[in-house]
Protein backbone atom coordinates (compact mmCIF):
# COMPACT_ATOMS: atom_id res chain seq x y z
CA UNK A 1 0.00 0.00 0.00
CA UNK A 2 2.80 2.32 0.77
CA UNK A 3 4.34 1.50 -2.61
CA UNK A 4 1.12 2.35 -4.42
CA UNK A 5 0.75 5.62 -2.55
CA UNK A 6 4.35 6.35 -3.41
CA UNK A 7 3.69 5.77 -7.11
CA UNK A 8 0.57 7.91 -6.92
CA UNK A 9 2.57 10.67 -5.27
CA UNK A 10 5.29 10.48 -7.95
CA UNK A 11 2.68 10.54 -10.70
CA UNK A 12 0.87 13.50 -9.18
CA UNK A 13 4.16 15.33 -8.66
CA UNK A 14 5.13 14.84 -12.30
CA UNK A 15 1.74 16.06 -13.46
CA UNK A 16 2.10 18.99 -11.11
CA UNK A 17 5.51 19.76 -12.66
CA UNK A 18 4.12 19.89 -16.16
CA UNK A 19 1.20 21.98 -15.10
CA UNK A 20 3.61 24.38 -13.59
CA UNK A 21 5.68 24.55 -16.80
CA UNK A 22 2.76 24.62 -19.20
CA UNK A 23 3.18 28.05 -20.85
CA UNK A 24 6.69 27.18 -21.97
CA UNK A 25 5.66 23.70 -23.10
CA UNK A 26 2.77 24.98 -25.10
CA UNK A 27 4.93 27.61 -26.76
CA UNK A 28 7.63 25.08 -27.53
CA UNK A 29 5.17 22.70 -29.14
CA UNK A 30 3.62 25.35 -31.32
CA UNK A 31 6.97 26.70 -32.53
CA UNK A 32 8.12 23.19 -33.39
CA UNK A 33 4.99 22.74 -35.50
CA UNK A 34 5.55 26.04 -37.24
CA UNK A 35 9.11 25.05 -38.00
CA UNK A 36 7.92 21.84 -39.62
CA UNK A 37 5.51 23.80 -41.77
CA UNK A 38 8.04 26.39 -42.89
CA UNK A 39 10.58 23.69 -43.67
CA UNK A 40 8.16 21.82 -45.88
CA UNK A 41 7.04 25.06 -47.55
CA UNK A 42 10.66 25.80 -48.32
CA UNK A 43 11.13 22.41 -49.99
CA UNK A 44 7.97 22.79 -52.03
CA UNK A 45 9.06 26.27 -53.11
CA UNK A 46 12.52 24.92 -54.03
CA UNK A 47 11.00 22.25 -56.25
CA UNK A 48 8.64 24.73 -57.93
CA UNK A 49 11.50 27.19 -58.36
CA UNK A 50 13.78 24.75 -60.18
CA UNK A 51 10.94 23.86 -62.54
CA UNK A 52 10.11 27.51 -63.13
CA UNK A 53 13.73 28.43 -63.78
CA UNK A 54 14.12 25.67 -66.33
CA UNK A 55 11.14 26.86 -68.32
CA UNK A 56 12.23 30.47 -67.92
CA UNK A 57 15.24 30.08 -70.18
CA UNK A 58 13.38 29.57 -73.48
CA UNK A 59 10.67 31.96 -72.34
CA UNK A 60 13.25 34.70 -71.86
CA UNK A 61 14.68 34.27 -75.32
CA UNK A 62 11.16 34.24 -76.66
CA UNK A 63 10.24 37.42 -74.80
CA UNK A 64 13.30 39.33 -75.96
CA UNK A 65 12.61 38.12 -79.51
CA UNK A 66 9.04 39.41 -79.27
CA UNK A 67 10.21 42.81 -78.14
CA UNK A 68 13.02 43.02 -80.68
CA UNK A 69 10.75 44.69 -83.21
CA UNK A 70 9.83 47.48 -80.82
CA UNK A 71 13.44 48.06 -79.91
CA UNK A 72 14.88 47.87 -83.41
CA UNK A 73 12.22 50.08 -84.91
CA UNK A 74 12.63 52.37 -81.90
CA UNK A 75 8.95 52.75 -81.43
CA UNK A 76 8.14 55.47 -78.94
CA UNK A 77 4.76 56.70 -77.96
CA UNK A 78 4.11 60.38 -78.61
CA UNK A 79 4.24 62.47 -75.47
CA UNK A 80 0.79 63.96 -75.70
CA UNK A 81 -1.19 60.72 -75.59
CA UNK A 82 -3.43 60.47 -72.58
CA UNK A 83 -4.60 56.95 -71.95
CA UNK A 84 -2.22 54.70 -70.10
CA UNK A 85 -2.43 51.10 -69.02
CA UNK A 86 -0.42 49.32 -66.33
CA UNK A 87 -0.41 45.54 -66.05
CA UNK A 88 0.82 44.49 -62.60
CA UNK A 89 1.98 40.88 -62.28
CA UNK A 90 1.98 39.18 -58.90
CA UNK A 91 0.06 36.19 -57.55
CA UNK A 92 -2.53 34.94 -55.09
CA UNK A 93 -0.32 33.62 -52.33
CA UNK A 94 1.74 35.34 -49.70
CA UNK A 95 4.68 34.38 -47.51
CA UNK A 96 7.11 35.33 -50.28
CA UNK A 97 8.89 38.35 -48.93
CA UNK A 98 8.45 41.69 -50.65
CA UNK A 99 7.23 40.39 -54.01
CA UNK A 100 3.72 41.84 -53.98
CA UNK A 101 4.55 45.01 -52.11
CA UNK A 102 7.38 45.97 -54.48
CA UNK A 103 5.12 45.67 -57.54
CA UNK A 104 2.40 47.61 -55.75
CA UNK A 105 4.86 50.34 -54.76
CA UNK A 106 6.12 50.71 -58.31
CA UNK A 107 2.56 50.93 -59.65
CA UNK A 108 1.52 53.49 -57.03
CA UNK A 109 4.45 55.78 -57.82
CA UNK A 110 3.77 55.42 -61.56
CA UNK A 111 0.11 56.36 -61.07
CA UNK A 112 1.09 59.36 -58.98
CA UNK A 113 3.47 60.52 -61.70
CA UNK A 114 0.99 60.04 -64.53
CA UNK A 115 -1.98 61.53 -62.69
CA UNK A 116 0.16 64.49 -61.83
CA UNK A 117 0.77 64.99 -65.55
CA UNK A 118 -2.96 64.81 -66.19
CA UNK A 119 -3.10 61.42 -67.90
CA UNK A 120 -5.69 58.74 -67.42
CA UNK A 121 -4.42 55.45 -66.02
CA UNK A 122 -6.07 52.06 -65.67
CA UNK A 123 -4.62 48.95 -64.02
CA UNK A 124 -4.89 45.27 -64.79
CA UNK A 125 -4.23 43.17 -61.66
CA UNK A 126 -2.84 39.73 -62.26
CA UNK A 127 -3.07 38.11 -58.84
CA UNK A 128 -5.30 38.59 -55.84
CA UNK A 129 -2.61 39.94 -53.53
CA UNK A 130 -2.04 42.91 -55.80
CA UNK A 131 -5.76 43.65 -55.83
CA UNK A 132 -5.77 43.63 -52.05
CA UNK A 133 -2.89 46.08 -51.92
CA UNK A 134 -4.26 48.46 -54.51
CA UNK A 135 -8.02 48.53 -54.28
CA UNK A 136 -8.27 50.59 -51.13
CA UNK A 137 -6.36 53.59 -52.36
CA UNK A 138 -6.51 53.20 -56.14
CA UNK A 139 -9.74 51.28 -56.57
CA UNK A 140 -11.12 53.55 -59.27
CA UNK A 141 -8.14 52.84 -61.50
CA UNK A 142 -8.65 49.08 -61.56
CA UNK A 143 -9.86 47.70 -64.86
CA UNK A 144 -9.50 43.92 -64.60
CA UNK A 145 -8.65 41.50 -61.77
CA UNK A 146 -7.25 38.05 -62.38
CA UNK A 147 -7.47 35.30 -59.79
CA UNK A 148 -6.12 31.75 -59.51
CA UNK A 149 -2.65 32.93 -60.42
CA UNK A 150 0.39 31.22 -58.97
CA UNK A 151 -0.94 27.81 -58.11
CA UNK A 152 0.13 26.18 -61.34
CA UNK A 153 2.96 27.29 -63.64
CA UNK A 154 1.74 29.92 -66.11
CA UNK A 155 1.08 28.86 -69.69
CA UNK A 156 0.69 30.68 -72.96
CA UNK A 157 -3.04 30.01 -72.70
CA UNK A 158 -3.22 31.98 -69.43
CA UNK A 159 -1.44 34.89 -71.05
CA UNK A 160 -3.79 34.81 -74.02
CA UNK A 161 -6.85 34.77 -71.71
CA UNK A 162 -5.56 37.91 -69.99
CA UNK A 163 -4.82 39.58 -73.32
CA UNK A 164 -8.27 38.70 -74.68
CA UNK A 165 -9.98 40.18 -71.60
CA UNK A 166 -7.92 43.31 -71.95
CA UNK A 167 -8.68 43.74 -75.64
CA UNK A 168 -12.37 42.97 -75.07
CA UNK A 169 -12.68 45.44 -72.22
CA UNK A 170 -12.90 48.29 -74.66
CA UNK A 171 -10.31 50.44 -72.95
CA UNK A 172 -8.47 52.08 -75.83
CA UNK A 173 -5.09 52.64 -74.31
CA UNK A 174 -2.39 54.47 -76.22
CA UNK A 175 0.55 53.11 -74.39
CA UNK A 176 1.33 51.24 -71.25
CA UNK A 177 3.75 49.11 -69.35
CA UNK A 178 3.83 45.78 -67.64
CA UNK A 179 5.29 45.82 -64.12
CA UNK A 180 6.77 42.51 -63.04
CA UNK A 181 9.58 41.07 -60.93
CA UNK A 182 12.52 40.21 -63.09
CA UNK A 183 14.43 37.20 -61.89
CA UNK A 184 18.13 37.86 -61.35
CA UNK A 185 19.32 35.00 -59.16
CA UNK A 186 18.13 32.69 -56.40
CA UNK A 187 18.52 35.37 -53.80
CA UNK A 188 17.71 38.47 -55.82
CA UNK A 189 15.03 39.83 -58.12
CA UNK A 190 14.25 43.31 -59.35
CA UNK A 191 10.96 45.01 -60.08
CA UNK A 192 11.03 46.02 -63.72
CA UNK A 193 8.72 47.53 -66.30
CA UNK A 194 8.51 46.80 -70.01
CA UNK A 195 6.63 49.05 -72.43
CA UNK A 196 3.45 48.11 -74.29
CA UNK A 197 2.25 49.90 -77.38
CA UNK A 198 -1.15 50.10 -78.91
CA UNK A 199 -1.99 49.37 -82.53
CA UNK A 200 -2.26 53.06 -83.46
CA UNK A 201 1.04 53.98 -81.87
CA UNK A 202 2.86 51.24 -83.74
CA UNK A 203 1.15 51.94 -87.05
CA UNK A 204 1.88 55.64 -86.98
CA UNK A 205 5.43 55.38 -85.70
CA UNK A 206 7.92 56.80 -88.15
CA UNK A 207 10.18 53.80 -88.52
CA UNK A 208 7.34 51.49 -89.47
CA UNK A 209 7.45 52.84 -93.00
CA UNK A 210 10.50 50.79 -93.80
CA UNK A 211 8.60 47.56 -93.15
CA UNK A 212 7.21 46.43 -96.42
CA UNK A 213 3.88 44.98 -97.38
CA UNK A 214 1.97 45.39 -94.15
CA UNK A 215 -1.77 45.78 -94.14
CA UNK A 216 -3.91 46.63 -91.14
CA UNK A 217 -5.01 43.06 -90.58
CA UNK A 218 -1.51 41.64 -90.43
CA UNK A 219 -0.40 44.40 -88.10
CA UNK A 220 -3.36 43.81 -85.77
CA UNK A 221 -2.65 40.08 -85.61
CA UNK A 222 0.99 40.77 -85.02
CA UNK A 223 0.23 43.25 -82.25
CA UNK A 224 -2.14 40.91 -80.46
CA UNK A 225 0.37 38.09 -80.62
CA UNK A 226 3.12 40.39 -79.32
CA UNK A 227 0.88 41.49 -76.44
CA UNK A 228 0.33 37.88 -75.38
CA UNK A 229 4.05 37.23 -75.67
CA UNK A 230 4.95 40.11 -73.41
CA UNK A 231 2.35 39.09 -70.82
CA UNK A 232 3.61 35.49 -70.94
CA UNK A 233 7.17 36.70 -70.45
CA UNK A 234 6.15 38.82 -67.44
CA UNK A 235 4.24 35.90 -65.90
CA UNK A 236 7.15 33.50 -66.25
CA UNK A 237 9.70 35.88 -64.76
CA UNK A 238 7.37 36.77 -61.90
CA UNK A 239 6.69 33.15 -61.01
CA UNK A 240 10.38 32.32 -60.87
CA UNK A 241 11.11 35.38 -58.70
CA UNK A 242 8.20 34.56 -56.41
CA UNK A 243 9.22 30.95 -55.84
CA UNK A 244 12.83 31.88 -55.13
CA UNK A 245 11.70 34.63 -52.73
CA UNK A 246 9.37 32.20 -50.96
CA UNK A 247 12.24 29.73 -50.65
CA UNK A 248 14.49 32.31 -48.96
CA UNK A 249 11.68 33.63 -46.75
CA UNK A 250 10.73 30.15 -45.52
CA UNK A 251 14.38 29.29 -45.03
CA UNK A 252 14.98 32.27 -42.75
CA UNK A 253 11.68 31.57 -40.96
CA UNK A 254 12.84 28.00 -40.26
CA UNK A 255 16.18 29.27 -38.98
CA UNK A 256 14.49 31.79 -36.69
CA UNK A 257 12.16 29.07 -35.42
CA UNK A 258 15.18 26.83 -34.69
CA UNK A 259 16.80 29.59 -32.67
CA UNK A 260 13.64 30.15 -30.69
CA UNK A 261 13.29 26.41 -30.07
CA UNK A 262 16.86 26.25 -28.73
CA UNK A 263 16.29 29.18 -26.39
CA UNK A 264 12.95 27.84 -25.18
CA UNK A 265 14.33 24.33 -24.64
CA UNK A 266 17.04 25.78 -22.41
CA UNK A 267 14.46 27.74 -20.43
CA UNK A 268 12.24 24.66 -20.18
CA UNK A 269 15.06 22.46 -18.89
CA UNK A 270 16.23 25.07 -16.42
CA UNK A 271 12.72 25.52 -15.07
CA UNK A 272 12.19 21.76 -14.86
CA UNK A 273 15.44 21.27 -12.96
CA UNK A 274 14.62 24.16 -10.63
CA UNK A 275 11.22 22.69 -9.78
CA UNK A 276 12.68 19.25 -9.12
CA UNK A 277 15.43 20.73 -6.96
CA UNK A 278 12.88 22.71 -4.98
CA UNK A 279 10.75 19.62 -4.40
CA UNK A 280 13.80 17.62 -3.34
CA UNK A 281 14.90 20.32 -0.92
CA UNK A 282 11.38 20.44 0.56
CA UNK A 283 11.30 16.66 0.93
CA UNK A 284 14.76 16.51 2.47
CA UNK A 285 14.18 19.39 4.85
CA UNK A 286 10.79 17.86 5.75
CA UNK A 287 12.47 14.51 6.44
CA UNK A 288 15.19 16.32 8.39
CA UNK A 289 12.50 18.07 10.44
CA UNK A 290 11.12 14.60 11.36
Amino acid sequence: MFARTNNCMTFLTIVFFFFFLSPVTIRLKSIKNIQKITKSMKMVAAAKYSRAERSLKPARVYGTGAMALYEKAEIKAPEDKNKHLIIGVSSDRGLCGAIHSSVSKAIKSEIAKLSGAGKEVMIVNVGDKLRGLLYRTHGKHILINCKEVGRKPPTFTDASVIATELLDSGYEFDQGSIVYNRFRSVISYKTDAKPLFSLDTVASSENMGIYDDIDADVLRNYQEFALVNIIYFGLKESTTSEQSARMTAMDSASKNASEMIDKLTLTFNRTRQAVITKELIEIISGAAAL
Binding site: S55, K57, P58, A59, V61, Y62, G65, A66, A68, L69, K72, A73, F156, I210, Y211, D212, D213, I214, V218, L219, N221, Y222, F225, A226, N229, Y232
Partner: protein, 144 residues
Protein backbone atom coordinates in the same frame (compact mmCIF):
# COMPACT_ATOMS: atom_id res chain seq x y z
CA UNK B 1 20.83 51.43 -88.48
CA UNK B 2 19.36 52.64 -91.73
CA UNK B 3 21.76 55.45 -92.33
CA UNK B 4 25.10 53.75 -91.89
CA UNK B 5 25.53 53.39 -95.63
CA UNK B 6 26.37 49.69 -95.62
CA UNK B 7 26.22 48.23 -99.11
CA UNK B 8 23.70 45.43 -99.14
CA UNK B 9 26.12 42.93 -100.58
CA UNK B 10 28.05 43.00 -97.29
CA UNK B 11 25.35 40.97 -95.58
CA UNK B 12 26.08 37.34 -96.30
CA UNK B 13 23.77 35.84 -93.71
CA UNK B 14 20.61 36.45 -91.81
CA UNK B 15 20.96 36.41 -88.06
CA UNK B 16 18.12 34.04 -87.43
CA UNK B 17 16.16 33.15 -84.35
CA UNK B 18 13.58 30.37 -84.40
CA UNK B 19 11.86 30.35 -81.05
CA UNK B 20 8.89 28.48 -79.79
CA UNK B 21 7.41 28.63 -76.33
CA UNK B 22 9.11 25.55 -75.01
CA UNK B 23 12.35 25.48 -76.93
CA UNK B 24 14.83 27.62 -78.73
CA UNK B 25 15.82 26.03 -82.04
CA UNK B 26 18.01 28.77 -83.41
CA UNK B 27 19.28 31.82 -81.67
CA UNK B 28 21.25 34.44 -83.57
CA UNK B 29 22.40 31.75 -85.95
CA UNK B 30 23.85 32.66 -89.30
CA UNK B 31 21.86 31.05 -92.06
CA UNK B 32 21.55 31.58 -95.78
CA UNK B 33 17.81 31.38 -96.38
CA UNK B 34 14.57 30.69 -94.58
CA UNK B 35 11.28 29.66 -96.20
CA UNK B 36 8.21 30.61 -94.18
CA UNK B 37 4.48 29.96 -94.67
CA UNK B 38 2.48 33.10 -93.98
CA UNK B 39 -1.14 34.19 -94.24
CA UNK B 40 -0.37 35.98 -97.48
CA UNK B 41 1.58 33.08 -98.96
CA UNK B 42 4.89 31.31 -98.58
CA UNK B 43 8.06 33.22 -99.24
CA UNK B 44 11.77 32.86 -98.75
CA UNK B 45 13.86 35.24 -96.74
CA UNK B 46 17.40 35.90 -97.93
CA UNK B 47 19.90 38.29 -96.43
CA UNK B 48 19.05 41.90 -97.17
CA UNK B 49 15.38 41.03 -97.55
CA UNK B 50 13.23 44.11 -97.24
CA UNK B 51 12.03 44.56 -93.64
CA UNK B 52 8.57 43.17 -93.02
CA UNK B 53 6.22 41.71 -90.45
CA UNK B 54 4.15 38.67 -91.21
CA UNK B 55 1.81 36.33 -89.41
CA UNK B 56 2.42 32.61 -89.83
CA UNK B 57 -0.06 29.96 -90.84
CA UNK B 58 0.37 26.25 -90.01
CA UNK B 59 3.05 24.93 -92.28
CA UNK B 60 6.66 24.03 -92.82
CA UNK B 61 9.59 26.31 -92.17
CA UNK B 62 12.74 25.31 -94.03
CA UNK B 63 16.08 26.65 -92.85
CA UNK B 64 18.99 26.55 -95.29
CA UNK B 65 22.27 26.58 -93.41
CA UNK B 66 25.55 28.03 -94.58
CA UNK B 67 26.87 24.64 -95.62
CA UNK B 68 23.90 23.98 -97.89
CA UNK B 69 22.05 21.50 -95.71
CA UNK B 70 18.46 22.24 -94.79
CA UNK B 71 16.29 21.40 -91.81
CA UNK B 72 12.52 21.49 -91.74
CA UNK B 73 10.23 22.39 -88.85
CA UNK B 74 6.48 22.43 -88.60
CA UNK B 75 5.04 25.55 -86.98
CA UNK B 76 1.50 25.98 -85.74
CA UNK B 77 1.22 29.76 -85.84
CA UNK B 78 3.11 32.84 -84.80
CA UNK B 79 4.85 35.79 -86.33
CA UNK B 80 7.98 36.54 -88.29
CA UNK B 81 9.87 39.80 -88.24
CA UNK B 82 12.55 40.80 -90.71
CA UNK B 83 14.46 43.83 -89.54
CA UNK B 84 16.55 46.28 -91.45
CA UNK B 85 19.79 44.77 -90.17
CA UNK B 86 18.91 41.40 -91.67
CA UNK B 87 17.96 39.84 -88.36
CA UNK B 88 14.95 37.57 -88.51
CA UNK B 89 12.87 36.55 -85.52
CA UNK B 90 10.44 33.74 -86.04
CA UNK B 91 8.25 33.41 -82.96
CA UNK B 92 6.16 30.28 -83.19
CA UNK B 93 3.56 29.24 -80.70
CA UNK B 94 4.55 25.61 -81.27
CA UNK B 95 7.33 24.33 -83.47
CA UNK B 96 8.53 20.76 -83.93
CA UNK B 97 11.11 19.17 -86.20
CA UNK B 98 9.27 17.63 -89.13
CA UNK B 99 10.46 14.09 -88.57
CA UNK B 100 8.92 13.96 -85.13
CA UNK B 101 5.42 14.10 -86.64
CA UNK B 102 3.50 10.91 -87.46
CA UNK B 103 1.71 10.81 -90.83
CA UNK B 104 -0.87 8.22 -89.78
CA UNK B 105 -1.86 10.14 -86.66
CA UNK B 106 -2.15 13.34 -88.68
CA UNK B 107 -4.42 11.67 -91.25
CA UNK B 108 -6.59 10.22 -88.48
CA UNK B 109 -6.91 13.64 -86.82
CA UNK B 110 -7.77 15.23 -90.15
CA UNK B 111 -10.59 12.78 -90.82
CA UNK B 112 -11.97 13.19 -87.33
CA UNK B 113 -11.95 16.98 -87.63
CA UNK B 114 -13.63 16.87 -91.03
CA UNK B 115 -16.39 14.64 -89.76
CA UNK B 116 -16.88 16.92 -86.74
CA UNK B 117 -17.33 19.92 -88.98
CA UNK B 118 -20.62 18.65 -90.28
CA UNK B 119 -22.21 18.45 -86.85
CA UNK B 120 -21.33 21.86 -85.38
CA UNK B 121 -23.35 25.01 -85.80
CA UNK B 122 -21.82 27.30 -83.16
CA UNK B 123 -19.57 29.91 -84.80
CA UNK B 124 -16.74 29.75 -82.33
CA UNK B 125 -16.64 25.95 -82.29
CA UNK B 126 -16.74 25.91 -86.09
CA UNK B 127 -13.74 28.21 -86.20
CA UNK B 128 -11.88 25.90 -83.83
CA UNK B 129 -12.60 22.84 -85.99
CA UNK B 130 -11.67 24.70 -89.19
CA UNK B 131 -8.34 25.65 -87.63
CA UNK B 132 -7.77 22.03 -86.66
CA UNK B 133 -8.55 20.92 -90.22
CA UNK B 134 -6.18 23.49 -91.69
CA UNK B 135 -3.38 22.49 -89.36
CA UNK B 136 -3.82 18.78 -89.97
CA UNK B 137 -4.02 19.27 -93.74
CA UNK B 138 -0.77 21.18 -93.63
CA UNK B 139 0.89 18.45 -91.59
CA UNK B 140 -0.29 15.75 -93.98
CA UNK B 141 0.86 17.75 -97.00
CA UNK B 142 4.23 18.36 -95.43
CA UNK B 143 4.85 14.75 -94.58
CA UNK B 144 3.87 13.31 -97.93
Amino acid sequence: MLSNGHPHAAWAHCSFGLLCLLQVFFKEANVKQIDVPTLTGAFGILPAHVPTLQVLRPGVVTVFNDDGSSTKYFVSSGSVTVNADSSVQLLAEEAVPLDSLDLAAAKANLEKAQSELGGISDEAARAGVLISIEANEAIVKALE
